[in-house]
């Protein structure tokens, strides 16, 4: 083996030891750096993906319009033609009004963000959004939609952030059940079904399916009080406590737009 190769191997050994000894602060900084590097690829890839997606959507709308055409033909030719032209615009308009309305109604300061993609890790439920420190985002900020809680930011670069979803095992949320004094801790599971497990409830809680669950907003916590978390699907008493299975309020499988809570108004 040549001397230069031995020298390189020595450098490699030093680097490996240095990498293994890194602490959380440095690791967080490195992770932000990596997010910064992948940010342009994620942004442009997401744009291409949404273009392709909207192409598919347009084709589907055409099918729907065709079906609509056949159904309405027997009723009114004039109304059918008018509806075909206006339907898409009306949907866009309604959606934008809903999003804008929620942002204005909300008692939080919200930063709107677009979901760029779900992370490829099998055992973690995380997404990337197109906002970062340049928009005032920092780690540990709640992320919501108009339907309910989505998760919290973890790693942040200048214009890209990673959000850990409430369905991840590691994302724990203090929660309270509507109409009761019951409080517990919600967390995700390793199962891809996307359910939440609300534990540390009273064994005698006797929760009923359909009851709403909200964030409890404990002092020093990340999540403010009163954000919809999910709906009770089932409840069972365990040896020491009660456990409820929840269906998340926000549709985490098809997230497109979210809001990052940067503070109170």
């Amino acid at each position: 083996m040549k001397k230069i190769q031995i020298a390189f191997l020595a450098v490699l050994a030093v680097l490996v030891i240095a990498v293994c000894l890194l602490e959380s602060g440095t690791l967080g900084w490195l992770q932000s750096g990596l997010l910064g590097i992948v940010s342009p690829i994620s942004h442009s890839g997401s744009a291409v993906k949404s273009s392709i997606g909207s192409l598919g959507k347009d084709l589907m709308s055409l099918d729907q319009l065709q079906a609509e055409y056949e159904r309405v033909l027997s009723e009114n030719r004039k109304l059918r033609a008018e509806n075909n032209g206006l339907r898409d615009l009306q949907q866009d308009n309604d959606h934008l009004r809903q999003v804008l309305g929620y942002r204005e109604r909300s008692s939080f300061r919200l930063v709107p963000a677009v979901v760029l993609g779900h992370d490829a890790g099998e055992w973690w439920s995380t997404i990337k959004i197109n906002r970062g420190s340049a928009d005032g985002i920092t780690p540990d900020m709640p992320v919501i939609t108009d339907k309910g809680l989505v998760g919290k930011t973890t790693a942040v670069s200048s214009n890209l952030s990673e959000v850990v979803l409430i369905t991840d095992e590691s994302c724990r949320v203090a929660a309270k059940v509507e109409g009761t004094k019951e409080q517990g801790i919600s967390a995700g599971t390793r199962d891809p079904a996307g359910e939440l497990r609300l534990t540390f409830l009273s064994k005698l809680a006797d929760l009923q399916p359909g009851q709403k669950v909200y964030t409890a907003g404990v002092s020093g916590g990340i999540f403010p009080s009163g954000i919809a978390l999910g709906t009770v699907k089932s409840f069972h008493a365990r040896e020491l406590d009660g456990e409820a299975i929840l269906e998340p309020s926000a549709d985490l499988g098809s997230l497109e737009e979210v809001f990052v809570v940067t503070g109170a108004k």
Binding site: G28, L34, H118, E122, P139
Partner: protein, 184 residues
């Protein structure tokens, strides 16, 4: 010089693979994800000589480890030690495989990519079980390990021939080990 250019191209491909795999949709019904980084890693460690391959493995470990890093309230759930050891060991195995086959072979790359994906996802699961407790080995878990591995096996030849065609655009083909002849 050619080896250095090849090394740089492969290192640049690592974050590209990471970003692209995040954009790919999950595979129903178990929502398994396609992994591209192990395929690029396998190509790199087969194409490069020992010392650059080890540096490349360190780069792959950094990218993979940082991508999955979860810092909760200042606590790191899984650090970088496990990915570093994992990728360095696989780099040595692939160097030995490359020696045994006297060059790069697409079959070794495809099988190796599947094995790296399988052990990577399985290892992450075991590490999480140790960290978070519980060992829920269900069919869902097994499928979520098996499906990405099979996807890697199927995608690896495509990426292999694509890279074999693309790399000579940037560097002379001599930078890659020659394809071996079958020996009787």
């Amino acid at each position: 010089m050619r080896q250095i250019i090849l090394f740089i191209i492969l290192v640049v491909l690592l974050p590209v693979a990471l970003a692209l795999q995040d954009l790919l949709p999950s595979i129903p019904p178990f929502q398994a994800r396609i992994q591209l980084l192990p395929i690029v890693f396998c190509f790199g460690v087969l194409a490069l000589p020992l010392v650059p391959a080890l540096f490349f493995a360190l780069a792959a470990a950094l990218v993979q480890g940082l991508a999955l890093l979860q810092i909760q309230s200042g606590q790191v759930e899984l650090g970088l030690t496990a990915p570093v050891v994992f990728f360095l060991l696989w780099a040595i195995v692939f160097q030995m495989a490359s020696e045994a086959t006297e060059g790069m072979r697409w079959e070794v790359h495809a099988f190796g990519s599947a094995m790296v994906t399988l052990t990577l996802i399985g290892g992450e699961f075991l590490a999480l079980c140790c960290r978070r407790g519980g060992f829920p080995v269900e069919m869902t878990v097994l499928w979520r390990i098996a499906i990405p591995s099979v996807a890697s096996l199927l995608l690896a030849p495509l990426l292999y021939f694509l890279l074999r065609k693309l790399v000579p655009v940037f560097v002379e083909d001599e930078a890659l080990p020659k394809k071996p002849e079958f020996r009787r």
